[in-house]
Symmetry: C2
Subunit: 273 residues, 2 copies
Amino acid sequence: MKPTVAIIGIGLIGGSLGQALRRSKRYRVLGIARRPSTLRDAKHLGAIDAGSTNLTDVYQADIIVIATPVDSMVPIIQQIRPFLKSRAIVTDAGSVKGVLDQQIRGVRFVGAHPLAGSHKTGVKSAHPDLFRGATCVLVPQDDSALKAVRDMWKAAGARTLEMSARAHDEAVALTSHLPHLLAHALVHVAARRPDQKVLKSLMAGSFRDVTRVASSDPEQWVPIFQANLKNLRRGIRLFQKELNRLNTELAKPSLRASLKKSQLYRQPLFNVI
Amino acid sequence: MKPTVAIIGIGLIGGSLGQALRRSKRYRVLGIARRPSTLRDAKHLGAIDAGSTNLTDVYQADIIVIATPVDSMVPIIQQIRPFLKSRAIVTDAGSVKGVLDQQIRGVRFVGAHPLAGSHKTGVKSAHPDLFRGATCVLVPQDDSALKAVRDMWKAAGARTLEMSARAHDEAVALTSHLPHLLAHALVHVAARRPDQKVLKSLMAGSFRDVTRVASSDPEQWVPIFQANLKNLRRGIRLFQKELNRLNTELAKPSLRASLKKSQLYRQPLFNVI
């Protein structure tokens, strides 16, 4: 019999995972969401086999994936714990790993973070290929649980990478959380200018790309920033130092070498730019 | 007889303009470049009707477009001035307008800035549709010359927008030059970290987009930053203020409203995100 994966929170990530797992034909997917309309959409979009608005239905599941905003995860795990099967594995899809790693006790837990997403949210933006070729970080705690979660993400198309919660959180503060905050800061600079018409007519590719992630949902990002506050603030300090250095170099001959260095570091990083 | 447009500097911008003007069948395009190989590529790619490595050949042209890095423009205009036809119009395609506006005397000059481009450079990246739907800013000085330059950019597919050099330079400092510098600063933060392997494995969409323009050519951007230094430094100060404000808000309830404000400002800005 296929293992049952219960996905709590059927948004972009939960919905896409459900679609990918159902397509693999190796899992039964139970969707758990607060609103019946979400479950209807998820069913219609092929993201779940069955739906429930009741957290106690986790009793059916072999693997429980919590795909809610990061600040809801610990309370949800506390709520579902009494209803879990004895060998059930709890995992998540959150962008910060240290919080869960420290607070989860008494369940077989494997922290996970699929590096995929979009500024779009909701099950209607879900896509079964969202995780294809994406990295999913796993924080190993329990070997047999780790294998089950790794197999699930591989079935969804991701490649998995194991590391400590601390190494993960320090790195994503710089590669994800800081870029998001910089995008917001640049939008605020533009939004406060008096000459909006001229300014908007002169926004081209660089402004579009640097600010794209400022379109992301604050309901999702406020909890992420706050859960990784210390690392993010360290990232802000490092960034301010680099910006001040470049500011000083603007009128100096060394600017060219400095920009050349970042150009050469950046160019080969992504296959598709 | 068709007017002749001489394009000095056949890179991405000059080459794309040549292709677009030739496609319109309303102009003869003379390409002027330092290297014969550039002219051969440009001819092969349909960007020019004829080519020359000699600046004195501007004597053939009704409109001369200088599409070189911004620090070469004033010296080139001084060199070509003795060879211009009596009613010839000189224009450019540079990202900073004040420098030329102040320094060009004794020629019929219209400053222009097509807001199109790429981190890719060179005539081999040229495309006749590069300016389709893009805005081209024109700095009006001479009414009849303005009309000729406006017609040319419209023939290339751009929509034109007139404003003062000062208004242009203040705005692009925030919408283009500052985003470029921020991208470089974020790349420098990442490049200095010791744990490169972990860091690179965790770079996803936000880092990719925020840093994309750090791949741009420093030979092009050093002169732009330096020609718009005062406005760019003002932009850096405004940015630092916003980043500091967000940093303070990170641990406060007001963060949500602040991110919501930038989300709502950013979301409708571009048709294609």
